[in-house]
């Protein structure tokens, strides 16, 4: 070490040779963050052009149906013969939860099936990739009003399309269609698991034979999704086989639980919450959080 190269911070001034050296090091240290930030930020993959109108509340009017999943059927226009063109807007709750409880309770209060009413809802729009999701931001208070219809709503179109197999990823539609970017893949996986376990309807994101994106609602064979169980398959490549149906403007796949888990590339060991899902009588157990979702179903 040179005589002049010794310096500790509390000394009044660094030796000149060291001072010059330090200035060069500091300049480098200030260039380094800029360079690394440029590289890392510029290297990010493209995000989907989806939207979440956070902070902007919108009112929508339509018929609420809980079949096959909670949705609001709104009028999207008229065809050439003057017939009504409808669009299904998937309904989700604030946070990572579904809306089924809200509407089941409402149905009990009204004493008639929900499809006998037209509802006025206020919430936040989420949309992209040709699909629309509506978040009931104020939860129960998002239902502003309702009026009785002359006749109950029936699905415009229900077509059985036979047994089919799809390869893709299970996503939660709330995040995928706008709330999060990216709303799929491994980084988002735990969020998708939490959203689906919380009652948001699982959707398969796949591609059709033309390579175009295709979204399919997933329902278990008996018509009821076991939320905690299927949620664990979210955010990873998977193949699902089942009976495909077209219900209005959504494809719905009724899958066989057992086949799905056999198709998974890893063993799924049902944990306590899954057992509870099968045995609703045991709902007071330690995993009541997951189990409550089953109650809601």
């Amino acid at each position: 070490m040179k005589e002049n190269d010794f310096y500790v911070g509390y000394l009044p001034k660094a030796p000149r040779s060291m001072s010059k050296w330090l200035k060069a090091v500091i300049a480098g240290l200030l260039l380094l963050p800029g360079f690394v930030a440029l590289m890392v930020a510029g290297n990010q993959h493209r995000f989907a052009a989806t939207n979440f109108e956070y902070g902007q509340l919108t009112e929508l009017t339509g018929v609420v149906s809980l079949e096959p999943v909670p949705r609001l059927i709104v009028e999207a226009g008229r065809d050439q013969r003057g017939g009504v063109i409808t669009k299904s807007v998937l309904l989700v709750n604030f946070g990572k939860s579904g809306v089924e409880t809200i509407f089941r309770n409402l149905e009990k209060e009204l004493g008639r099936p929900l499809t006998n009413f037209e509802f006025n809802l206020r919430g936040t729009l989420i949309y992209g990739e040709g699909k629309t999701v509506f978040e009931l931001t104020d939860q129960e208070a998002s239902v502003l009003g309702h009026k009785i219809l002359d006749k109950a709503y029936v699905p415009v179109k229900t077509v059985a399309l036979g047994e089919q197999s799809f390869e893709g990823e299970i996503i939660d539609p709330k995040c995928y269609f706008g709330v999060m970017k990216p709303g799929f893949g491994k980084v988002h996986r735990s969020c998708a698991i939490r959203c689906i376990a919380g009652g948001i309807s699982p959707v398969m994101a796949t591609k059709n034979e033309n390579g175009e994106k295709q979204f399919i609602l997933l329902l278990a064979d008996k018509g009821k999704t076991k939320w905690p169980l299927i949620s664990r398959l979210a955010g990873k490549p998977i193949t699902i086989k089942g009976e495909l149906k077209q219900v209005d403007d959504w494809l719905v796949l009724h899958y066989d639980d057992q086949l799905l888990y056999e198709a998974a590339s890893f063993p799924i060991i049902p944990n306590e919450s899954d057992k509870l899902a099968r045995e609703p009588k045991l709902l007071a157990g330690p995993n009541a959080l997951d189990a409550n979702i089953v109650l809601c179903n």
Partner: protein, 350 residues
């Protein structure tokens, strides 16, 4: 060495250090935000915050880990070591923003406690490919918190230098966890040659610098055995630089032999503050001054000047003509010994 503790003992160097640190943080965040908004305008604010803070914390961690070996290899990096704890605490704060935002984004407002959800959402702990990478970042953040919370001389004095140093060595465990967190998280989710290259280069730099510093130190740490009379020949007195030291390893301990004011004294090489190498220090104002943080000891008795209370072990030095001999038996810490006087000891009989 503070007798009374204050949050920060500010001085000019620390202020400059922190200003440069702040400027670096601002430059990184600004460039990241501007480039992201320009190239990826669809990005959400949450994703922007999570990615900007996560990558910045990782860059800062690399700088923190590089400073140590760089200072060992070249003394001119020592001013970067002097105030490294501010860099460490800042890195923790930025990493905490990343961690908290990630937990809020991915785990809050669900049907489970967010902290429970971190560990229970993805349960594929038996698969490397599907491993829940967020848990790795969580444990690294806990280590960074422990380090940041105890990053003050108050804790160093109360926990003891040995325990404190061992605990802070956990930074290497945290570094390993973070590398895996990134590899099994964003790199796996958005495969990128550039990210892997940057991460690999960072890892090689840190590992290489540590190996190089260790190799150089091991070369100079050759153990010397005493002669028949129980003394170790250090060398010629002229080989010891004025107001500085040479070092020798004996009985597994490193000893620093200082020449100053026509005298030669020997003390343990290990500073009581953070195990800094006293032998690489200088005599300033009559005191051995540690190069890392400037802790001081009187060369003849190994005591810090009053009111400070740190003490290091001292050794006997004997001169035989130009030859310097060390008695490898240490005196208890802070024991006053007679320094060997140059010239007047020429005829001393060993």
């Amino acid at each position: 060495m503070g007798h009374q503790y204050s949050a920060v003992l500010w001085n000019r160097q620390k202020k400059i250090y922190d200003l440069v640190l702040l400027a670096g943080v601002i430059v990184y965040l600004l460039v990241f935000i501007v480039v992201s908004q320009f190239l990826r305008p669809e990005i959400t604010e949450e994703t922007l915050i999570i990615r900007a803070t996560g990558s910045l914390a990782l860059l800062m961690l690399h700088i923190i880990l590089a400073i140590g070996p760089l200072s060992r290899l070249n003394n001119r990096f020592l001013p970067l070591l002097y105030n490294r704890r501010h860099l460490g605490v800042s890195m923790f704060v930025i990493a905490a923003v990343h961690g908290v935002f990630s937990i809020l984004q991915f785990h809050s407002l669900g049907n489970a406690n967010p902290l429970v959800s971190v560990f229970s959402s993805n349960l594929q702990y038996n698969s490397l490919q599907e491993f829940p990478f967020q848990t790795l970042g969580f444990f690294a953040l806990i280590i960074f918190f422990m380090m940041a919370a105890t990053s003050h001389d108050f804790w160093l004095a109360n926990l003891g230098p040995k325990f404190w140093k061992t605990m802070h060595m956990l930074v290497y465990v945290a570094y390993g966890l973070i590398i895996m967190h990134v590899m099994l998280g964003i790199v796996q989710s958005e495969p990128s040659v550039l990210l892997v290259t940057l991460l690999g280069a960072g890892f090689l730099l840190i590992a290489g610098l540590h190996l190089l510093a260790g190799f150089r130190e091991s070369k100079s740490d050759v153990e010397k055995s005493p002669n028949q009379r129980g003394y170790i020949l250090i060398g010629q007195v002229s080989e010891i630089p004025e107001n500085a030291a040479v070092t020798v390893v004996t009985n597994g301990e490193k000893v620093a032999i200082f020449k100053y004011d026509g005298k030669v004294s020997a003390v343990s090489n290990v500073c009581k503050h953070q195990n800094g190498p006293l032998g690489e220090g200088k005599i300033i104002d009559g005191c051995i001054t540690c190069p890392w943080h400037g802790y001081q000891y009187l060369p003849h008795d190994g005591c810090s000047p009053p009111p400070f209370t740190e003490k290091v072990a001292t050794y006997d030095i004997i001169l035989e003509g130009e030859k310097v001999y060390l008695n490898p038996k240490p005196y208890p810490e802070g024991t006053e010994g007679k320094p060997a006087i140059i010239k007047s000891t020429l005829n001393q009989d060993i």
